[in-house]
């Protein structure tokens, strides 16, 4: 637990209030860059946006309940080759922050000069649902704030992955965390890191304890974990054995969108996109001869099993794979199920600690003796 303060927002509009807070942070700390969810000019969707011109922040929607892409992937695009020479304040969801932590371990993000602000996220809507609401002129953000965010509840339209998210609050990795749950009324600002403490020290904020907060967060986490354990059993029933897997992925058209959106799948030269999968007629003749037939496109189950082998230890359960699937396959559920086990095998939790090495990049001499 870090230092906790109360944030007083004059405006009832939370997006506006948080925007003002971010501006204040930037002003007092001489930060001129901000990455924040922003309403795009067509006014029907919100994307993480790199903003320099502060006038454009009129349309900032920090807590917009939508996750079209992962900010982690976007930050990697910005800082993979070299660190940012200027400070950038980044406002993002906890799952995106976990992605950032994993990508940093894999040297896909340079953390220098990045300051992270995250919050108690009650989940996002599917992008098309959100886009439709905005197109229809609905103030869906305000509705989300009063129905979900402030109550610590989730309505039915929230994404499945979010409904099962156990790590929905800003973790110790966020420099600054914003809390809505168990805050003794009002909004809580918490400095988790030294960097965060320094940033907040320049603002005049009133201290608070928010005694009930940890207990309430834990309770929500626990409830969701129980729900997930039940759901796990259902998926296991559905996707067991090769025939179960074939049924589970029966709609897969081999588009690789799940991989494209996965924040963990960062490889520039992906095995599944490599010339390994450029075949000659002889390959197909051989397969058809051996098995009697070969489904086209081939290697769809192979692709999912391979991806599970490569990335499941770092799967942060954001659910973007399911969102990206044009065939509405529940990719996230199956990956989350397997990831739970592969991560447990190494007592590893992605997004927990930067010092914790990813299972596939390290080893211990004295382990796994049962294997040999």
């Amino acid at each position: 637990m870090g230092e906790r303060f109360l944030l007083k927002i004059k405006d009832k509009d939370l997006n506006k209030g948080l925007k003002d807070f971010l501006l204040q942070v930037m002003e007092k700390n001489e930060i001129s860059n901000l990455i924040v969810p922003l309403l795009i000019p067509s006014k029907n969707n919100v994307f993480p946006t790199f903003v320099k011109n502060r006038e454009l922040l009129e349309d900032a929607k920090p807590i917009a309940p939508v996750l079209p892409v992962s900010t982690a992937t976007m930050i990697s695009k910005i800082t993979r080759l070299s660190p940012s020479p200027e400070k950038i304040l980044v406002f993002l969801k906890p799952c995106e922050l976990r992605g950032i932590l994993e990508l940093t371990k894999f040297k896909q993000i340079t953390l220098d000069n990045l300051i992270f602000v995250s919050y108690d996220c009650m989940g996002a809507y599917k992008t098309d649902f959100y886009e439709e609401a905005l197109s229809g002129g609905k103030d869906i953000d305000s509705e989300y704030v009063s129905k979900n965010l402030m109550k610590g509840e989730q309505d039915d339209n929230i994404r499945d992955a979010c409904k099962l998210c156990e790590n929905f609050f800003s973790t110790a990795f966020a420099d600054i965390g914003i809390g809505f749950i168990g805050t003794d009324g009002g909004i809580l600002i918490e400095a988790h890191t030294e960097k965060g403490k320094e940033v907040l020290s320049k603002l005049s904020l009133e201290k608070t304890k928010a005694k009930e907060r940890d207990e309430r967060l834990e309770k929500i986490s626990k409830d969701r974990k129980e729900k997930w354990e039940k759901e796990k059993e259902e998926i296991k029933k559905e996707a067991t054995g090769i025939d179960g897997l074939v049924r589970y992925f029966s709609k897969c058209i081999d588009c690789h969108n799940c991989m494209g959106q996965c924040p963990i799948c960062f490889c520039k030269e992906c095995f599944w996109e490599s010339p390994t999968f450029e075949f000659t007629p002889l390959n197909f003749l051989g397969w058809a001869e051996k098995k009697g037939a070969v489904k086209l496109p081939t290697d769809t189950i192979f692709f999912h099993l391979g991806r599970l082998s490569h990335m499941s230890t770092s799967c942060i359960a954001c659910g973007l794979c399911s969102d990206a699937c044009p065939m509405d396959i529940k990719v996230y559920e199956l990956f989350h199920l397997v990831a739970d086990d592969t991560q447990a095998a190494f007592d590893y939790k992605p997004g927990r600690d930067l010092e914790e090495e990813a299972p596939l990049v390290t080893f211990k001499e004295d382990e796994l003796k049962e294997l040999g």
């Binding site: 179960g244 074939v246 081939t298 086990d341 592969t342 596939l360 001499e365 040999g372």
Partner: protein
């Protein structure tokens, strides 16, 4: 023909140990079942899990990885990394009900020709008992 099941086995054997052990077993005229299809790799640590999936999906009834004893890796730590990967593979198989017993990891040094022949015998018998794998039979994978 149909009454006796002959397991199809794929082995990924390290160049510096298990592959040499296979040579030694052969030059010493040791007998072992012909079910194993050995693939020489430069290190057990160079075996991407995709290769193992490929073997199973193409009809292998069992896959065995042979590497250098812990501490003896020609590239210092390849076998330790292989062991972690195999743990992941085994875990995925277990979670998805894919019969993880069909995958073995064994340390066989270049001088252990006898161990190589015995291990191949054991593995063949082990898979024979498990029966044919279903994984590679499905044509829509």
């Amino acid at each position: 023909m149909a009454d006796k099941f002959e397991p199809k086995l794929v082995g990924f054997f390290c160049n510096w140990c298990t592959s040499s052990a296979a040579d030694l077993a052969g030059t010493s005229r040791m007998q072992y079942p012909p079910n194993i299809r050995p693939i020489r790799v430069m290190c057990s640590g160079s075996v991407d899990l995709a290769y193992i999936w490929r073997a199973f999906l193409e009809g292998a009834d069992g896959v065995i990885i042979g590497g250098c004893h812990p501490g003896d890796c020609h590239y210092v730590s390849g076998n330790y990394k292989a062991r972690r990967r195999i743990k992941i593979f085994e875990t995925i198989m277990k979670t998805l009900g894919l019969d993880e017993k069909r995958l073995w990891l064994r340390w066989i040094s270049a001088s252990e020709g006898k161990k190589f022949a015995e291990t191949m015998k054991e593995f063949t018998e082990h898979i024979r008992e498990l029966g044919p794998s279903k994984i590679g039979k499905n044509w829509s994978i």
